[in-house]
Symmetry: C2
Subunit: 344 residues, 2 copies
């Protein structure tokens, strides 16, 4: 089959690899219907050292179950399924607490002998715990929105949940990428009366307004901080969703969070150390967030997707065939595309 591999910064190739198959009794084999490129895939696209072996790519996909192992109970051949961006047993204490990213027997795609979703098919470990079947056809117009439940929608929702967004909290979202926009949508769903979106790509922030942003601040750095403070009587907002992962975004978050407030990070941090001394401690700021247990939120978020109340799939502004994955990475890296859907 065809699968996407990265061989170093800027070097993405779609290659022929052996077809995956069920290996363990708890596996499922999923034929991919749609996958996509994540903002976090751009980090290795910038930094990855050259590798002869290459790394398989992709952690967001929906598809049709083609085969299941003998112990799989809740998933069957022909099911349309959503695969969240971590696989998990669904039964350990962490899974029961809704922290499937720390599952005692789970893991992430593209690690060990588990391959990635930017491919024609994927062997899914612990299929009962991992996959969520949805009663739709593979050509349903809902497919892009269902695919956002693999990662970006659940990630934006995780940011809002960890920050305890309610009808009493004002929110700033830093970053107008797909995760930032899903943070806006999630904050709106949780009742936030005011959502300031910081981003400078007008077509993205316009979409953010449709998802619920009440104000947009295009400036960055100290100017951006001053603009948010001016909007908030000098205080900043109760919650800041940091959906970028670079140090300037963290510094911006510190600059616009209200005393006693929460910075919720869902952008993969591209730094090890950050200022958490008096700047964070003095005003009693809480720093939270992490890789979203997307699996935990699928049942919660699914109904409004299925009935059309929300349309998170609008974050996909480009669709390409799988063989054009290198072009998909380029388009996202050049900010020509917000998020690219790959048709397997």
């Amino acid at each position: 089959m065809r699968a996407t591999y990265m061989y170093g910064a800027g070097d993405v190739r779609v290659i022929d690899v052996p077809d995956p198959a069920v290996q363990h009794p708890t596996d499922a084999l999923v034929r991919v219907v749609r996958s996509c490129v994540c903002g976090s895939d751009l980090h290795p696209y910038h930094n990855m050292p050259a590798s002869e072996r290459g790394e398989s790519m992709g952690h967001e996909f929906v598809g049709i179950v083609e085969d299941v192992g003998s112990e799989v109970r809740t998933i069957g051949k022909g099911d349309f399924v959503i695969a969240p961006f971590a696989w998990s047993d669904g039964t350990c204490d962490f899974c029961r607490e809704g922290l499937q990213t720390s599952c005692r027997h789970g893991g992430f795609w593209n690690a060990g002998d588990v391959r990635g979703g930017q491919a024609e098919a994927v062997r899914v470990p612990l299929a009962d715990g991992t996959l969520v079947p949805v009663p739709v056809e593979e050509n349903s117009p809902l497919v892009p929105s269902l695919l956002t439940l693999s990662d970006v929608y659940g990630t934006g929702y995780h940011a809002a949940v960890k920050a305890r967004v309610t009808a009493d909290t004002t929110v700033t979202v830093i970053g107008d990428g797909a995760v930032g926009l899903m943070g806006v949508l999630s904050a709106q769903q949780l009742g936030a009366p005011r959502i300031i979106l910081m981003g400078r790509h007008k077509e993205r922030t316009d979409l953010g307004r449709e998802f619920g942003a009440t104000e947009v601040v295009a400036e960055r750095g100290t100017e951006g901080i001053a603009a948010v403070r001016e909007l908030t009587r000098g205080d900043g907002t109760h919650v800041v969703i940091e959906a970028v992962g670079h140090m300037p975004a963290y510094e911006q978050a510190l600059g616009v969070v209200r005393p006693g407030g929460v910075i919720s990070r869902v952008g993969l941090p591209q730094y090890d150390d950050a200022p958490v001394g008096w700047d964070l401690f003095g005003p009693n700021i809480t720093l939270t967030g992490g890789p979203a247990p997307a699996r935990a939120y699928i049942e919660t978020l699914l109904p409004a997707v299925l009935d059309g109340t929300v349309d998170p799939g609008r974050v996909f502004d480009t669709e390409l065939p799988l063989d054009d994955a290198p072009a998909a990475y380029r388009a996202m890296d050049d900010r020509l595309s917000l998020k690219v859907l790959l048709r397997a």
Copy 2:
């Protein structure tokens, strides 16, 4: 009157200064009955550059109101009062939210023209918002416990509250100083079924056991981390109260916190940057805490002090007259005393 000033690292003097007096209509003048030396006072005792002017010291005191300004309504002459370690108006939005340390009109002792509590008397700004009158005599045996409500008890409680300790959370407390021990007591009051105290001073950890610690780990660093992990199936605890403020304590906290858990810091950080990249983000750890709004917790914690259910004043193991403040600092710095009460 006599007052304690610090002139540089290791250089504490009790000197004569002009008597304070009511200056503003919202002030109260409080004659100090007892004050004390805080673990955080040891930071400048180690680091303060030499100063000719010196800095007034002390942010924990109880006393008798001797005079009030014309606008003070809730406090009167002769009242026994507790002064929390920040002064605040009690009416702004931050105060109403219980974050008096961020009061819009308040501040900290020993800043601007407000002097410290290690003295015979203190001018207290915004007396109605700041002071809490308590119906006891100044020679009551409850005085030491009431004094802990100025800071250390409220600080330990703040750590536990910010970490959302409940009957479902296991807790590690790092640090066997007075704040750590108050963190133990607070976690116990909030129902934590298991409280591991990390400290190596046996008489202190013995007191910690009386306050509610279920286990004590004397080892530090990687050995200490391994010991806590061994006690917790390798997982660490849901909550870590970090009551020290030095980098090794932060690193220890990262090492013993369970995925999805909370590190709650109440030791004043003696660092600016700290590791908050994948180590904190990957397991979805929340970092919270800050200077405790001790004022917010006094009404909550007072009844059990007044009726003798708890005796937090046991953290004071030494009492000295005010003029011996230099010896009090030395005794705490040399770990000969856990916490010294100063008799004004």
